[in-house]
């Protein structure tokens, strides 16, 4: 059990990523969309850590990278929520299909 193959991790990450993408593209509730984006980012972290541990050339950089990505994801979500709150106060809704003032 000491050396796990890399593939299961990558496949899991890919599945998570696709789930996140699907959710981000189809969900109506903006908060859920943000959550889905978070899911995609976490899939990335999984990838990075898996590569860092079981990749061709194991190397700590991947874990460092994932720390950065976690932080930045947090900042992004914070900004996203702040904007959502500002929008909510003006519009009284969190449904993304009501984001429709701007269109061609």
């Amino acid at each position: 059990m000491s050396t796990l193959p890399l593939q299961p991790f990558l496949i899991l990450a890919l599945i998570l990523f696709c789930m996140g993408l699907f959710g981000a593209l189809t969900k109506r509730n903006t908060i859920i969309v943000l959550v889905c984006i978070e899911l995609m980012l976490n899939a990335v972290n999984l990838n990075l850590v898996a590569f860092s541990k079981y990749g061709a050339q194991p190397d700590i950089t991947g874990q460092v990278f994932s720390l950065f990505s976690i932080t930045i994801a947090a900042a992004e979500v914070a900004v996203g929520m702040a904007i959502l709150i500002a929008w909510y106060r003006n519009k009284n809704s969190v449904n993304i299909d009501e984001v429709d003032e701007l269109k061609d």
Binding site: I37, L41, S69, I72, E76, G80, W87, V99, D104
Partner: protein, 489 residues
């Protein structure tokens, strides 16, 4: 890392970044603790700091290549020239901010001023990074600052919406970028561009499909910043929602930064490899994809621009189209490509900021962004109309302007490439003609239609300054392009 190693680094090459960083922090402190009446001088401080940064940067001209902090920060001609564009563009945008006449709700807020600096800092970090982590951090510093800037007009529903769409699209794009980066890291086992390049030039064996997927996903994600298909839909909404200087920033600086990062990743990694290397399939798959994206971007941007009436949306779509043009040199990968992209971006700085400046003036005077603000402009203010004509002519690529030289370079680059990219060149030419239609329809408004009731009042000297600089840049680069081209080489 002990003190000695630390001191052995040549920190001097980071002076432009430090200038911007210190200015940003200083501005935020001044904004927090300063008196209310000082606050209108904040943009001046920013202008001065950018000026100083440009001087520092100029001082580095001809400096040999340096890399500090274990190759994460590199100084090379590429970073030098692109930082020049970034600083120049930001300088013009701050002049634009300074020129405001009405007291907009956000423009007196300090965030507006120093977030721009933060975003600029992000782009400069991107320009100099030699490691994908640094690259990513710079990118996100830019993105997150931009999200806030777009949404800064808190009580404006358009602004909220633009910011909302920007964040969501941006978040998805970030995820794509990171996902691609993680594969690239996985294949090469390093985040340093040098190592990645070396790994990619060798035989990847069974890792090749992963590398292809990784790079394509990475490109899709990075395409967000330069608004290429499929991440182009945010641009019109965001440009419309944001305050005009912010739109200009997104359209120029942010886009230039996006190209920078793409060039860093794709040019640095693949140029040295070329088609001759072992990884033909990798190379062809990726550049085939970029070519497809380029075509789609040109076509969609220009075609959809045809039916826009809001000026900022129109410019947004046109900027999508331009992004498609600028991708062509990347696909053709000739020795001229870098020069071509650089020149086009430089030209783009002048013409786009100029156009946004005119819109900004009119928008403040007429409280509208519809194309009809231009009607009869020639009668109201002939000089403004002439300036706009020059910018639009440049955007359309009419000879005598910088835009023409830019397009000419790209076209020649595409034809001279081996194998020649006739299809790309042809579509670019075709789309240029399409773009004539919407650019010229603004001419129709300015010169042929009669003016509406609201008249613009006189235009102040502060407003003229960026305009004149932009006109000089656009015309100057159009007639004497060799100045810039010699500067570059």
């Amino acid at each position: 890392m002990d003190l000695q190693t630390l001191q052995s680094f040549e920190w001097g090459i980071m002076t432009p970044e430090f200038t911007i960083l210190i200015a940003g922090i200083l501005l935020s402190l001044l904004d927090l603790f300063g008196r209310e009446r000082w606050k209108k001088y904040l943009p001046w401080l920013a202008v001065i700091s950018i000026g100083i940064a440009i001087l520092f940067l100029g001082n580095q001209a001809g400096h040999q290549d340096v890399s500090i902090l274990y190759d994460t920060y590199i100084f090379d001609p590429f970073s030098f020239y692109f930082k020049f564009i970034l600083l120049l563009g930001s300088f013009l945008i701050y002049l634009m901010i300074l020129s405001r006449t009405t007291n907009h709700e956000i423009e007196d807020r300090g965030e507006y001023v120093y977030l721009l600096l933060a975003a600029l800092l992000g782009t400069m970090v991107m320009a100099s990074s030699g490691d994908i982590i640094t690259l990513f951090v710079g990118l996100e510093l830019l993105s997150i600052s931009s999200y806030i800037m777009v949404g800064l007009r808190k009580n404006n529903l358009h602004s909220n919406e633009g910011a909302m769409k920007y964040v969501i699209n941006g978040g998805i794009a970030t995820a794509f970028t990171l996902f691609g980066m993680s594969y690239v890291y996985g294949i090469s086992g390093s985040t340093k561009l040098v190592d990645i390049s070396r790994e990619m030039s060798g035989s990847l064996g069974s890792g090749e499909p992963v590398a292809i997927i990784g790079f394509i996903i990475l490109f899709i994600g990075l395409g967000f910043k330069i608004s290429t298909v499929p991440f182009h839909m945010w641009a019109p909404d965001v440009y419309q929602g944001a305050a005009t200087p912010v739109s200009a920033f997104l359209s120029v600086i942010s886009k230039a930064a996006g190209f920078m990062i793409i060039i860093r990743l794709f040019w640095d990694i693949f140029h040295s490899i070329g088609v001759a290397a072992e990884n033909d399939a990798l190379f062809e798959a990726i550049f085939g994809f970029v070519a497809t994206v380029s075509i789609l971007t040109m076509v969609i941007g220009n075609i959809v621009a045809l039916r826009q009436r809001n000026m900022k949306r129109l410019l947004a779509y046109s900027s999508i189209g331009h992004a498609g043009y600028i991708l062509i040199p990347l696909v053709s990968l000739t020795p001229m490509s870098l020069e071509n992209i650089w020149f086009y971006l430089l030209a783009y700085v002048f013409m786009t900021i100029g156009a946004f400046m005119v819109i900004y003036i009119l928008e403040q005077a007429k409280k509208s962004e519809d194309i009809s603000i231009f009607s009869g402009l020639f009668k109201e203010s002939p000089l403004l109309a002439v300036a706009m004509t020059i910018f639009l002519a440049s955007l359309a690529g009419i000879p005598g302007t910088a835009g023409f030289i830019g397009k000419l370079n790209i076209l020649i680059g595409a034809v001279i490439a081996n194998p020649a990219q006739y299809l790309l060149a042809g579509i670019m030419a075709l789309m240029t003609v399409v773009s004539y239609i919407y650019y010229f329809s603004i001419f129709v408004q300015m010169f042929i239609r009669e003016p509406e009731e609201e008249r613009i009042t006189n235009i102040s000297g502060l407003q003229w300054t960026p305009l004149i600089l932009c006109v000089l840049g656009t015309i100057g680069l159009g007639i004497f392009p060799f100045i810039a081209l010699n500067f570059f080489s």
